[in-house]
């Protein structure tokens, strides 16, 4: 996993609410047995029209908006537990998703792949979305160490689990940690 400490970038606005993992990566793309290539199909059915041509109305196809930060509507990542959704977003190049709410499993999956799910208040989200839409070059500064987000519409702090923060800033993952607990686990099993 890549380390995440600080990021300054522009953002892509996607104000739709309840974006579920079936939209992020449709089931028909889940047949792969490795993690590569999912980025090509992120939001597939929104990016392309039924006849296969590019949907110019969709924000990812609008060259005005660029960046590794996605700012999305409330309740992002609901639905299926498929981690392919996180792989697809990371594969496309996203490093941070900002929303006013994340579904549980998605949040965990994102953190396990070095993708930061950054939760802000719905008022702030609204202001931020509007600002980016009016001014696509709006810069967002995310500092994980300080748990802060800075933009022209204001500065806010965000919450993150202390343990997860250590993992992300150091690029560790849970497997390393759990293996270090081997003896305790063995003792627990022995007592079963």
């Amino acid at each position: 996993m890549e380390k995440f400490i600080q990021l300054t970038d522009t953002a892509i606005p996607l104000p739709t609410e309840n974006i579920d993992t079936d939209q992020i990566i449709p089931a028909r793309f889940l047949k792969a047995t490795d993690k590569k290539g999912f980025g090509d199909n992120v939001f597939r059915d929104w990016r392309y029209l039924k006849n296969g041509s590019v949907n110019t109305n969709f924000v990812l196809n609008n060259t005005e908006f660029k960046g590794s930060i996605l700012v999305a509507g409330n309740n992002f990542g609901c639905g299926s537990s498929r981690e392919h959704a996180a792989w697809a977003l990371v594969g496309y190049g996203f490093k941070v998703i900002i929303s006013s709410f994340f579904a549980d499993i998605f949040k965990g999956n994102a953190l396990n792949n070095g993708l930061l799910p950054l939760q802000v208040s719905s008022e702030f989200l609204k202001k931020l979305l509007q600002e980016i839409q009016e001014n696509p070059s709006t810069k967002i500064i995310v500092d994980l160490e300080k748990q802060s987000l800075k933009t022209s519409v204001g500065n806010v702090t965000f919450d993150i689990d202390t343990y997860k923060k250590v993992c992300m800033t150091n690029g560790y993952d849970d497997i390393d940690f759990l293996i270090s607990k081997k003896e305790k686990i063995a003792a627990f099993e022995a007592a079963l």
């Binding site: 739709t16 309840n18 079936d22 537990s81 579904a103 549980d104 965990g108 607990k181 081997k182």
Partner: protein, 458 residues
């Protein structure tokens, strides 16, 4: 202060607690399938970590399998490779696999309970969000992502923060024609799709106490649709009777000892939940969804509500419905009876009982997909298949099928499908497909009439 069912099971599985962080939770059973496991196996292999407890893992192939001609090689190359990969991984790591065609094969959340793998007081995980199904046994069961599948492979444990607790009480008498599916659709319609986020839910009240295990599984299955990690129902005599004698259940004294422990699990009087809701059973009617999330549900007699919200409008436009409309009388060409929500024997009994002596409408393509080989066999043994055939229905072979439309079972674009599955997201059952979630009774009634009818009047 008393403890909740959830607390009791959780606390019994905590191996360690990280200061200001998550806990290390021991996992009793790990279920895997072809779609969310290959990358986890790769991960371990790359890091040269062995699978810690292959004896605690059970594998099946279900998500990506065809539901016709299962005896033939799979046509779709990627699907075939995915299954081959699962077989290879299981063999290499000594994991029990109930592959395609095996007598124990079927949807992961259907086979584990029917084989007695699922038992009260356990912790269970699977790389599939509907793992919540197993909570019907008083089990802490929840879906995990593939990185977590790798964690459990590596350590038989999961690093996780303890969720908050929620209780939903439903008491009173259910009306005729109201099934467990309607109860859960009603709860989700009332509470919304993220009311449960961060929580583990317990269902309590006489309505759940009187339900069969199949019904309880239908309810717990959809806990995730209100955002909860999982749902649970206290184990009781119904649970013990169901588990007893199953292949993986302990026998004799051993079993009695377990029952004695299971009896200590129900929530103590006076235990406090972080959140609690109560509903009156008499208020529940057969339910239907009209939108593109499972919370957009109405009673059969209700009209689609008015709402100016953008996502609501977008959802109605996708479904081609209008606010103020009733769904009764809508012509429907597709019906799906299946998925881990409603593909157990009881669901097929209800369906057969309704279609007996009737005929399927000619406009309807009805996909009846048993949840497992065992369910399929029992359908035959009980003679239900004859009833279906006489009514013009054909049964397919077990699998997830049109629930997620990964295989060829896709609803065509723009078509409505009355479905017993659990998700009505845009494109879930095929690109452009329009899903209406309902009970097995509503589904077969639709198949017979070729349109949605008010089942309470028939």
């Amino acid at each position: 202060m008393g403890k909740t069912l959830f607390d009791k099971v959780w606390d019994a599985h905590v191996v360690d607690t990280v200061k200001n962080g998550p806990q290390v939770l021991y996992i009793d059973k790990h279920l895997i399938h072809e779609v969310t496991s290959p990358q986890a196996f790769n991960e371990l292999e790359e890091r040269k970590i062995p699978v810690a407890r292959p004896d605690k893992i059970v594998a099946t192939a279900d998500h990506n399998t065809p539901t016709i001609n299962q005896h033939l090689p799979i046509k779709d190359k990627l699907s075939r490779l995915q299954l081959e990969q699962l077989t290879k991984n299981c063999k290499k790591n000594n994991i029990t696999l109930y592959g395609l065609g095996h007598e124990n094969n079927g949807i992961v959340h259907v086979i584990a309970p029917e084989l007695g793998i699922t038992q009260p007081g356990m912790t269970m995980v699977c790389g599939d969000s509907h793992t919540s199904t197993h909570g019907a046994f008083g089990t802490i069961a929840f879906g995990i992502g593939t990185s977590q599948v790798a964690q459990v492979f590596a350590s038989q444990c999961l690093l996780i923060e303890k969720p908050k607790s929620l209780r939903v009480n439903v008491n009173g008498k259910l009306k005729k024609g109201v099934l467990p599916k309607d109860v859960i659709l009603y709860i989700i319609a009332k509470l919304g799709t993220n009311s449960g986020t961060g929580y583990f839910c317990e269902y309590a009240g006489n309505v759940f106490e009187e339900m069969s295990m199949e019904g309880r599984m239908t309810v717990c299955n959809m806990s995730i649709e209100m955002g909860a990690r999982g749902g649970m129902i206290a184990p009781d005599e119904t649970t013990f009777k169901y588990v007893k004698g199953k292949e993986f259940a302990s026998k004799g004294d051993e079993f009695d000892k377990k029952v004695a422990y299971w009896k200590t699990l129900p929530t103590d009087d006076g235990a406090v939940f972080d959140k609690e809701y109560s509903f009156d059973a008499a208020d529940i009617e057969p339910m239907l969804t009209y939108g593109t999330n499972p919370g957009m549900g109405i009673k059969i007699t209700e009209k689609i509500p008015l709402n100016t919200d953008d996502s609501f409008q977008k959802s109605l436009a996708y479904m081609n419905f209008k606010a103020g409309e009733t769904l009764i009388g809508k012509s429907i060409n597709y019906v799906f009876l299946g998925s881990c929500t409603n593909s157990r024997i009881e669901d097929f009994r209800i369906a057969a009982n309704y279609v007996k002596g009737k005929q399927k409408a000619t406009n309807v393509h009805a996909w009846l997909v048993p949840g497992s080989q065992r369910v399929a066999k029992q359908i035959q043994e009980e003679g239900l298949d004859t009833i279906f055939t006489q009514a013009g229905f054909k049964l397919r072979e077990p699998g997830c099928s049109a629930c997620l439309a990964m295989n060829d079972d896709k609803i065509p674009e723009g078509e409505y499908c009355v479905s017993t599955s659990n998700r009505n997201f845009e494109g879930r059952q095929g690109q452009g497909a329009r899903t209406i979630l309902a009970s097995p009774l509503m589904a077969v009634a639709t198949a017979v009439h070729g349109k949605i009818i008010d089942i309470t009047k028939h």
